[in-house]
Symmetry: C2
Subunit: 188 residues, 2 copies
DNA sequence: GTCTATATTTCGATAGAC
DNA sequence: GTCTATCGAAATATAGAC
């Protein structure tokens, strides 16, 4: 890993831990150990755990948005781009770094932590709706489908696919769920 | 609430807390306070937190299975039964009492806790696949659709719908996602 | 900016009296 | 079966020296 400032190392370690263990399951001590930053140093740069989490979540949200936008902006038909996004390689068993946070009661209770999560998922729904609207205009999918509702269902399949995969201890249900929604889109 | 034995009160309180706060976020002390059962008493009836969680999760799983099975066994066409299940009244913002557990790293790490979760979601996929196969045989949905994959997508939409709703702080995305998958099923 | 010391609560449980 | 006492570790910081 490239050389990073103390602040950067703290944010990156917090990002990892939030993904692996959630907010409630992540302790300041664990962040210090993973980052190699001392107690005093950590509290010098950040007010505490919520402050660190805010920085980490905002960065993860921005990064996810950029990555997905790039993927959906590639050349190809609407269905090709959506298929490419749904089937892209993922560490399925780790779950979604953003969506997974919604299970945490302390994230949901704190608007400043919930908001970046909400914005990211809301943006994704909108972006997919745009692509689906293009597909409808090009006659790739039925004109009767509502792009916004269909896009929300697609995002939900991804988020729910992670849930099923983690329960099963296998990526298989995720893949099957994606096949299922693509089958429905193809025949609609 | 009806009079309950000490053991029952512990299990019921643990069920509630697991739903509200997850496994990592639920402490033995909180269980004692909610149930009104003392420390010594709790450790007399159960070995500890994992043991209590096993009892609570198993009960929630059995109850969910029975309730959904009853709903899907009602009279009506396949699409009517599926629509009834997807649109039934729910406390959407609480999320799924079973699916939500998959976000917890300690649940996933412990096979005896993960297994009832996996079995429940696996059973649900299978049960919905049966209903979809009936619908296909009756010509309600396209013969080209794979019932198993479609059922998995439907379950994923529910689980993902909870995620989107909790992020938004509103049931709306859940409802929209359900409308989206029903629209796809209707036009397929 | 970073370090070590200290502080208060809670976690998750065990021990042993009643 | 239930109660109170006790325990070692971890959570989440604050204080103050360097």
């Amino acid at each position: 890993m490239a050389v990073m400032s103390t602040s950067e190392r703290l944010i990156e370690s917090t990002r990892e831990l939030l993904w692996e263990r959630g907010y409630v399951g992540t302790s300041p001590k664990a962040i210090q150990q993973r980052s190699g930053v001392g107690q005093g140093s950590m509290y010098h740069h950040f007010d505490g755990k919520p402050d660190l989490a805010r920085a980490a979540i905002s960065r993860t949200a921005a990064q996810m948005r950029a990555q997905i936008d790039a993927q959906l902006s590639r050349p190809g038909t609407a269905m090709e781009r959506i298929t490419g996004y749904l089937r892209r390689e993922r560490d399925v068993l780790k779950g979604c770094a953003i969506g997974g946070l919604t299970q945490d009661p302390e994230i949901i209770a704190d608007d400043s932590l919930r908001q970046p999560v909400d914005e990211t998922l809301r943006w994704l729904r909108g972006r997919l709706a745009e692509v689906l609207a293009q597909g409808r205009d090009q006659g790739e999918i039925a004109a009767t489908l509502d792009p916004a509702a269909t896009a929300t269902a697609v995002v939900a399949v991804l988020q729910g696919g992670y849930v099923l995969a983690r329960a099963a201890g296998s990526a298989e249900p995720f893949t099957v769920a994606v096949d299922g929604i693509l089958g429905l889109l193809a025949s609609a």
